[in-house]
Structures are given as C-alpha cells and as structure tokens.
C-alpha cells in the first residue's frame, strides 16, 4: 500500500484527528482515548504495523500525553514505490485525574515493558495489562519521578 493511500484510510477512522506526514515516511495522528483499542487492533491486523517501537509518556501539566510509535518491517507500506520502514506516531491525551488507558500488550508483545515503564516512571495505568509492576524502580518506591510535580527529597543545584 502506498503511504498516501494509508493516510486517507486513517483519516476515515473514528476518533482520528490532526493527520500529518513528517519526513515522507512518518504519519502523525491524534487519537481519542476511548477508541484507541479498536484502532490499534485494526492498525496491527490490516496495515502491517508489526512492530511497536516505543511508548512514551509526557507530563504536559496538567494533562498527560502518550506517544506511540509503530513501524512496519516487512514493507507492507511503501513510499513512492520504494520499500521503506514506515512509522505511525499516535498521540493520545489523558486527563490528570484519570491516567488510564487500555493496554496493548496483548496485541504487541514488545509493548509489555514499555507500558510497565510508563506506569513506573509516569504513573499511567494500563487496563488489562497482565503484569503491571514497576520495572526500573524498586518495589515500594513512592511516587512517579518523571512527573513534573514530583518532589525530590534532596534539592539539587541548578546546572
């Protein structure tokens, strides 16, 4: 499938807005939280995004933003006829009071630990995750240090 055709198809999905293209091979979209699971299932099964590259959580104060990066590996999407690894960047905004979203680790096995990391450092809760524990910080650690309102015990000097 040609990338421009894919952009057109993505626009038709429920909950998708702000579709744009970066550097020829990256499609950037904004997605609504409620529709995300159906959309991701579709993306994996019908458009060939086999690989979940990264899930990043951003504290935008007050809201949270999740950024998903998916990429194709086997060349199911082409750019002007050439086989490239096309990426899909999905932005989802979460309210601060309810930082929850459906887990996608049943769709992509590789998303499992990315979700655990987002939970660990940013405090995003992934509903349906098989094993939502801290991954980098020790068990029993209080708080989520990558949140902007996290207070350090020791005040560091500004560099």
């Amino acid at each position: 499938m040609e990338i421009d055709a894919l952009v057109k198809e993505l626009k038709a999905f429920k909950g998708v807005s702000n579709v744009s293209k970066i550097r020829n091979s990256v499609i950037k979209i904004t997605m609504e939280k409620g529709e995300s699971k159906e959309f991701f299932t579709e993306v994996r099964d019908n458009f060939g995004f086999e690989h979940c590259s990264l899930i990043s959580a951003i504290d935008n104060q007050p809201d949270f933003e999740l950024v998903y990066h998916f990429s194709t590996i086997m060349g199911s999407v082409t750019v002007e006829g050439t086989d490239m690894s096309v990426m899909l960047e999905v932005h989802i905004f979460l309210e601060r009071d309810t930082p929850t979203i459906d887990s996608i680790s049943d769709l992509w096995g590789g998303a499992n630990w990315h979700e655990r990391e987002a939970f660990d450092l940013m405090g995003i809760y992934f509903i349906g995750h098989p094993d939502l524990r801290r991954v980098l910080l020790p068990e029993g650690f209080a708080g989520h240090p990558l949140r902007k309102d996290y207070v350090y015990e020791i005040h560091e000097e500004e560099w």
């Binding site: 979940c52 990264l54 490239m84 690894s85 590789g110 980098l136």
Partner: protein
C-alpha cells in the same frame, strides 16, 4: 519433580551487567523466566531534562560502554531534527566512519564476551585483542578510548587528522585476515556448533511482535536494517548490503545470530572503505547552532544491538522538556521467557549471550 525458581544474578557470570534472571525449572528444563532490571537505573531521562541540549551528549555517551558513539549519534540526530540544523557533508562522512568503527568494536566486545559464556576463554582474548585495534582508531580523532563525546550537535568535534585513512586501512587489512582465522576457529568448530546450533530458537514473526530488532531479527532471515530502511547520514549513497542469516525457514538460533554479526563486521569494513573513497573536503561543524528548541522530533538509528530511538520534546527553553530513550535491549530482554522456555538450564549462558545484552542502555 517439583518446580522451583532459581535466581541468576545480579552477580552472575551469565548476566553481562547488573540484572537478575529468575528462572523456573522443572529438573533441568526451563519452564518460565522472569527478568528483573533496575540495578543500574540512573534516571538518565530525568537528568537530561535538567541539562542543556548540548550537555546531554555526556549522558548519552554513558548509556552503553560498548557503543557510546552510536547512542550519542542517535540523540544528536533527533536534536538536529528538532532544531533544523543542517550538518555539513564532510561531517556526515566522518560520523559514518565513526559509527562503523564503533559497530566493529561493539561486535568484537560481544564476540569476546560470548566465548567465555560457552567455556572458550581463549576466544575472548582473540576478539578483545582486535577490539583494542579499533579503540586505538577511535582514539585518534576523538582523544578518548571508551566515551568519545566526539559527535556534536551540528557535526563533529574536530576534523580527522592526517594519516587517519592509512592507519585505518592498515587495521582493516589486518582484521580481515584475522576474521578468516576466526572462521576456522569458531564457525567450523564442532564444539562451538554443538553449543549454539538449535538452541534459543525464535521465529521472525515472533521476534517482530516481541520487539526484537537488529542482528537478532536479521538472524531470522528478515531484511530489516534501519541504515537502509530509514536511512540517515550517508548510508543511502554507499554501496552495501543488508546481512541476514537463518537457521531454518524464518527462524534463528544462537549460531545464526553469531554469524550475522560476523557478516556485519565484513560489511562495516566495506562501508568504511567506501566512505574514505568518497569523502569530500569542507567544514565539519555547522556554522550556527541554536540552543533553544520548540516542538517535538524523533529519529531512530541502527544501533549494534537493534533499533535505537530517541524522542525529544522542546518547550522553547534551552533544556529538553521530555526526552525518551528507546533501548533495543529493553524489549529483547523482556521477551526472554519466550525464547528460554523448553531449553536446559545450561543453555542460558549460550542463549542470553547470543542476544548481546548491554545493561547500561537498558536500565537508562
């Protein structure tokens, strides 16, 4: 026999860094596994938010001691994308040479560490002797042997000195002979093949879903190399091929993953040679480099261990608002229960060694 959990690590010869692998065994057979990280967590992402953009190259250098240039390069590339910095042509060539030298050094580091895992201590000495040659080469332009801090936002720190090409050519020639020797020593050795063949198998489909990239995926016969498929620097203009191997139709074992890295070393030599041939003259650092940035950008590169991705968000100040590192080994380790199950306890060093673990980047 009753099943039980055995904890391997954080101080265990198998681990290559500080991490724990808990394995559930039934007799000698692995039933389940649970990797645990966090022993080396330094909160690099948080530290990066407090430092200016150009200061962070110090942190990225320390992400992985075996391939520090590639990590700095990935960071610099995404910041350049964010700031719209145009890199001079000559700097791109120098970067490519440095990246490939680093890839050779990193693969040699891995090969040297893999041999003692298999009980072949002499192999470590052979490979690390050769790694020394490449560290010496990397030292020539950058001035240091492990953490180079050579790639800067907008180009490289300084031009390569006179005679670097001849020096590199001498090393490459010697190393090519050595690789031939090693083919006899390892690839054709029955003992080596007995330990690695048909061990730690996973299919390409599995690997893609589990987020395994890099040489581990190319060992399944899948042609996926970001230097070609999401090209950066000047890889597009050079003449080289993606190296793949497979143990059988669409799956890899420890031996095919070993062979892919050996093939990649041959290919890296080719890339370095053609870089020197085509390298233009000119400046090596962009004339104006902004210190503030707004917006968001990401770039991904082919690290020696797989897909490295850095996502940087700027809020108009001189420090990144959010900086996210994707480490290829993070997902590869997370998938280890899938490729450990069913093998014997004694196979763990062979399997975990073959995926080339670096805990520095994994724990961030």
């Amino acid at each position: 026999m009753a099943e039980m959990w055995i904890s391997m690590g954080p101080q265990h010869p198998m681990t290559h860094g500080l991490w724990t692998l808990k394995v559930k065994v039934d007799g000698e057979t692995i039933v389940d596994a649970d990797p645990e990280l966090g022993y080396l967590h330094r909160s690099v992402e948080k530290m990066g938010e407090r430092r200016k953009y150009f200061m962070n190259t110090t942190l990225t250098d320390r992400l992985c001691y075996a391939s520090s240039t590639t990590w700095t390069h990935c960071y610099v590339l995404s910041v350049e994308e964010l700031m719209n910095v145009e890199v001079p042509e000559r700097a791109k060539y120098i970067r490519t040479i440095m990246l490939e030298l680093q890839r050779l050094a990193s693969h040699l580091m891995w090969a040297g560490a893999y041999m003692p895992d298999l009980g072949h201590i002499t192999g470590a000495l052979y490979f690390w002797r050769d790694r020394e040659l490449f560290l010496n080469l990397l030292e020539v332009p950058s001035g240091s042997r492990l953490l180079y801090n050579y790639i800067r936002i907008g180009g490289v720190k300084r031009d390569i000195p006179d005679g670097f090409q001849e020096k590199t050519e001498r090393v490459l020639k010697l190393f090519e002979q050595r690789l031939e020797e090693y083919a006899d020593l390892f690839e054709n050795s029955t003992i080596f093949r007995m330990r690695t063949e048909d061990v730690g198998k996973f299919t390409s489909t599995q690997a893609q879903n589990l987020g395994i990239t890099g040489p581990n995926l190319r060992g399944c016969g899948t042609e996926f190399d970001l230097r070609k498929q999401d090209s950066y620097e000047i890889y597009e203009e050079l003449n080289w091929n993606i190296q793949t191997r497979e143990a059988g139709p669409g799956y890899s074992d420890c031996f095919s993953r070993y062979m892919v890295r050996i093939d990649e070393m041959h290919e890296s030599i080719r890339i370095i040679r053609s870089c020197f041939k085509k390298m233009p003259k000119g400046p090596t650092l962009a004339s104006s480099i902004p210190i503030r940035a707004t917006g968001e950008a990401f770039r991904r590169t082919e690290d020696p261990r797989g897909e490295a991705l850095m996502y940087v968000v700027g809020d108009g100040s001189d420090r990144p608002y959010r900086w996210k590192i994707k480490s290829p080994m993070f997902t590869t380790i997370s998938a280890c229960p899938h490729y450990l199950k069913g093998y014997k306890l004694a196979d763990i060093p062979a399997i975990m060694g073959s995926i080339d673990i670096c805990i520095g980047e994994t724990d961030k």
